[in-house]
């Protein structure tokens, strides 16, 4: 074995002089740095080339921040329906029951999720409103609503409260009250229009939960009533505020997808709660519930706590998958693509899993044709499997996968992107754009890691972007329109609501009558 020359005498002599040999050995590894620099330069040039080629001519509109609140005197609100959705809406307005605040504070001590949940609520801007009236047919819900409505300062039990809102026994009494400017309707579906029509008649502004209506005729009635009264109307599709939908709209307007022929939307849930099998409150009985008022326009039925809490399971009160869940999907797409009412609808499905006496199907498939747009909208839902199939907008050149986040994937056979695919700038089947809410800009995805995370909607590239409750934004938009007093209407106005309801009804009728239904847009008739 050879050994290095390490003679001590020689070393001493050489100690303070740098020989040619030292210089060579000392600097021997430095060329490696040059090679690395060259490698990095290549990497950066390639990334920049791909980035600019991918984004090129696309100018994406991304909503920035929250629209400022318009000044005005406190808006006086009445709430009709204080069940779970009604309470959620009150929370989005800034009102939680003191007991809930105590409960969340308790959870927050042990759980990061609850800590953030509570913080987010506490930070939510005060909308300058006053809850003056509450109406619920169940005494317990009404009492909770009243106590929640007084918690303007977001305190726990024993904290400072404002004056208690008045409890009204009927919505009609609430709607004639002078100290109610506007009403929030969070009743079961079959009562939406009776309450909304009465509100319009009394000039009260309306925020109505989706779907707009329970029957076809009342859909026409409410459109007329809202237009004639001039009240500000917002349908509760808070998806209108979802950033990724607004981004998708701007991408499609710039023809990123090419011609769209098919859109697929889905609902997949797999738990009793998701299938509307809600808990039955032990305090519910004929003494605590005004059953007659609950029945309203529905066919008479003897008192049933099950029907009261699980009303979504019966056509008598609800609108099934079509009205309850498809409408979310439809409204998202109507917002993105201005779809309007389809020309025709077909539907099939059945009660395949929840054999619990319900009348609405738990599996539903619907196909809506838009021949003027050359496209089909497919809806497929099950309440007995949770696979998330998302929303997919399929164009000839690319498809958009849409959720809270957004992905654009180039189609391998695209005409528009053919050249870029051939040059290797675009890899088909892999996302070329991604958007995550809170992000400042859209990303051209160029590295394998980004592609991987983006394909799973897990690209956390933003910082300081706080999640905001879309329901809060949706209510805020409605309140701002009311304060503006210039006749402006929010994003999900009565015309959009009308399109939503008619589309859902077309699907429901097709399901009931086992036939294709059509929309005559001249005479405005479903046939």
């Amino acid at each position: 074995m050879k050994t290095k020359n390490t003679n001590p005498d020689q070393k001493d002599k050489e100690k303070n002089t740098i020989s040619r040999r030292d210089l060579l050995a000392g600097l021997a590894s430095l060329p490696v740095l040059g090679l690395l620099g060259y490698g990095l330069f290549n990497h950066k040039t390639e990334t920049a080339r791909k980035s600019s080629s991918l984004l090129g001519d696309i100018d994406v509109i991304i909503p920035k921040g929250i629209p400022p609140l318009i000044d005005g005197p406190p808006l006086r609100l009445g709430i009709v329906g204080c069940g779970s959705r009604g309470r959620y809406l009150m929370k989005a307005l800034g009102f939680l029951h003191p007991d809930k605040i105590d409960e969340y504070k308790q959870y927050a001590r042990e759980s990061k999720f609850w800590k953030e949940y509570l913080e987010q609520f506490m930070l939510q801007e005060n909308l300058n409103i006053k809850i003056t009236g509450i109406c619920d047919v169940f005494d317990k819900h009404a009492k909770q609503g009243v106590e929640t409505g007084a918690n303007l300062y977001r305190n726990g039990t024993g904290g400072k409260m404002t004056e208690l809102p008045k409890r009204y026994r009927t919505y009609k009494e609430l709607l004639t009250a002078d100290d109610v400017d506007a009403v929030i309707i969070a009743t079961p579906d079959h009562l939406h229009i009776p309450v909304a029509s009465e509100a319009a008649r009394h000039g009260k502004h309306i925020y109505c939960e989706k779907p707009l209506s329970w029957t076809v005729p009342e859909t026409f009635d409410i459109r007329k009533a809202v237009k004639e009264s001039g009240v500000v109307f917002q349908l509760g599709h808070q998806g209108r505020q979802t950033e990724s939908y607004l981004v998708a709209r701007s991408l499609i307007k710039q023809n990123v997808t090419g011609k769209i022929s098919l859109i697929e939307v889905c609902t997949n849930r797999n738990d009793p709660n998701g299938a509307w099998v809600y808990d039955i409150d032990p305090e519910a009985n004929e003494q605590t519930i005004d059953w007659k008022q609950f029945i309203g326009p529905a066919p008479w039925h003897e008192f049933s706590a099950e029907r009261f809490f699980r009303w979504r399971c019966w056509w008598d009160y609800g609108t099934g998958l079509s009205g309850d869940l498809f409408t979310h999907e439809y409204d998202a797409l109507n917002q993105i693509l201005d779809l309007g009412i389809p020309k025709s609808a077909m539907a099939s499905g059945g009660i395949y899993f929840y054999k619990d006496g319900r009348t609405v199907p738990d599996v539903l498939n619907m196909a809506f044709e838009f021949p003027d747009r050359d496209l089909t909208l497919l809806y497929s839902a099950t309440l007995a499997n949770e696979k998330n199939r998302g929303k997919v907008i399929m164009g000839h050149d690319a498809w958009i996968e849409l959720d809270e986040s957004l992905l654009v994937v180039a189609d391998p056979k695209s005409t528009k992107y053919r050249e870029r695919i051939e040059k290797g700038i675009i890899e088909p089947h892999k996302p070329i754009f991604s958007y995550v809410p809170g992000q400042e800009s859209i990303d051209a995805i160029t590295t394998p890691t980004e592609k991987y995370f983006a394909s799973r909607g897990l690209l956390y590239t933003y910082r300081g972007g706080k999640p905001i409750d879309t329901t809060h934004l949706h209510l805020r938009e409605w309140i701002n329109c009311i304060r503006r007093k210039d006749g402006s209407q929010p994003s999900c106005d009565i015309d959009q609501a009308f399109e939503e309801a008619i589309t859902a009804h077309m699907g429901t009728i097709a399901y009931h009558e086992k036939r294709q239904t059509f929309w005559d847009d001249v005479n405005e008739v479903i046939y």
């Binding site: 050995a25 990334t47 995370f453 300081g464």
Partner: protein, 154 residues
């Protein structure tokens, strides 16, 4: 330390290749303003999962972690390749690699979103690179091939 030509070559190559890896990883991050370790940290596993997720969700901690990581990798890489402050660089490298391993330990039963490029049981490439750092510390070569040789003469 006395080395044969063969062992000296092996050790210098080990030092330069690990340095290369560090430096390139560092430079790619330093030169990309949108790079962040957030998604990597959010995908953490093992008993320190909570700690790494806390960093990912805390803006200040994340900014510090990102800078230390990107610049740490770069400086360690330069030091190892050029053969200067190699010992300190290798210790710093052990700390960084140790943190990477702790955030993504190759323990059975832990799965990650990001696919692993092979099959590992406890020992993975991070741990092997960490062991290589130990070799670099124990068998220094920068005073023979590297800038330290020149500094010693000054």
């Amino acid at each position: 330390m006395k080395y044969t030509v063969s062992s000296l070559s092996a050790l210098v190559i080990l030092r330069i290749t690990t340095g290369w890896h560090f430096l390139y990883e560092g430079l790619v991050k330093v030169t990309d303003p949108s790079w962040s370790s957030r998604s990597y940290l959010m995908d953490s596993g093992g008993f320190l999962k909570g700690f790494f997720e806390w960093i990912a969700e805390n803006n200040t901690a994340l900014t510090i972690a990102d800078s230390l990581n990107a610049w740490g990798l770069t400086l360690i890489g330069i030091a190892l390749v050029a053969g200067i402050f190699t010992r300190y660089a290798a210790y710093a490298g052990i700390i960084l690699l140790g943190l990477y391993y702790l955030s993504h330990p190759a323990f059975p039963g832990i799965t990650y979103l990001f696919p692993v490029d092979g099959s590992y049981f406890i020992i993975n490439k991070t741990l092997i690179e960490l062991a290589a750092m130990w070799v670099i510390i124990s068998f220094p070569t920068s005073d023979i091939i590297g800038l330290e040789r020149l500094f010693k003469k000054m």
